[in-house]
């Protein structure tokens, strides 16, 4: 079974600084997708960034980028120039390329942004 592990329950970062959230996963599949979701206090989960396992290039989305290490099964999220609106729970997630897109989530990392 696939598992997703986030070992940092809480993180904090000064506004305008950079922070990296860690995630590791375990799978026997070779083709899969990884995601970071953001869940602000308003509760709706929003997709931040997505990485396809067969792509070696790390995904970037404005101030958000990932460091995808397939051999190490590591998928960290870097947030540059942190803003107050980045404060949220961040969930690392995984899905196979087959099936009906069941998403497996990590337990989440609560990010606090300090003004």
């Amino acid at each position: 079974a696939q598992t997703v592990t986030q070992s940092q329950p809480e993180m904090s970062v000064q506004e305008a600084e950079t922070v990296t959230l860690s995630c590791t996963y375990d799978t026997s599949e070779s083709d899969y997708y990884l995601f970071w979701y953001k869940q602000p206090p308003s509760r709706q989960m929003i997709l931040v960034i997505r990485q396809e396992a067969y792509k070696q290039q790390n995904a970037t989305e404005n101030r958000f980028s990932v460091n995808f290490q397939k051999a190490a099964k590591s998928f960290s999220l870097k947030i540059s120039d942190s803003q107050l609106g980045d404060a949220a729970m961040y969930f690392c997630a995984y899905t196979d390329s087959g099936g009906y897109q069941k998403v497996t989530f990590g337990i989440g990392t609560k990010l606090q942004v300090i003004p």
Partner: protein
């Protein structure tokens, strides 16, 4: 931007009672999902639904649970006889097509409290 909407935002129910959680997926989406998040734990997949039938379900989704798309817009999760351990945040999600490159759009969630 279209959103997945869930009602109610908070439901309080006596143990043993039936509860129905409602979701309105994005209108052109064809795949629907329910997840739950027990306080302090991971978001867990419950069930996926397509073409008026269950596509995949987890071991959590036992005979007490059922899903239905009673009309062209609503997607419901019914818990037949609630237990204390059913207390959780329940998230509905939808996607336009099948496949991990089709992002799931999540609703705000319904907080279910069983007394």
């Amino acid at each position: 931007e279209p959103e997945v909407t869930q009602t109610p935002s908070h439901q309080v129910t006596q143990m043993g009672q039936e509860v129905i959680l409602r979701c309105v997926p994005i209108s052109n989406h064809l795949y629907f999902y329910w997840y739950r998040q027990i306080l302090g734990q991971k978001v867990e997949f419950l069930v996926s639904f397509y073409n008026n039938e269950i596509s995949e379900k987890s071991e959590i989704f036992d005979d007490q649970f059922s899903v239905e798309r009673p009309d062209g817009s609503n997607f419901t999760l019914k818990i037949r006889s609630t237990k204390l351990e059913d207390s959780a945040m329940y998230f509905c999600a939808s996607s336009e097509r099948r496949g991990p490159n089709q992002p799931q759009h999540f609703g705000d969630g319904t907080r279910l409290s069983i007394l």
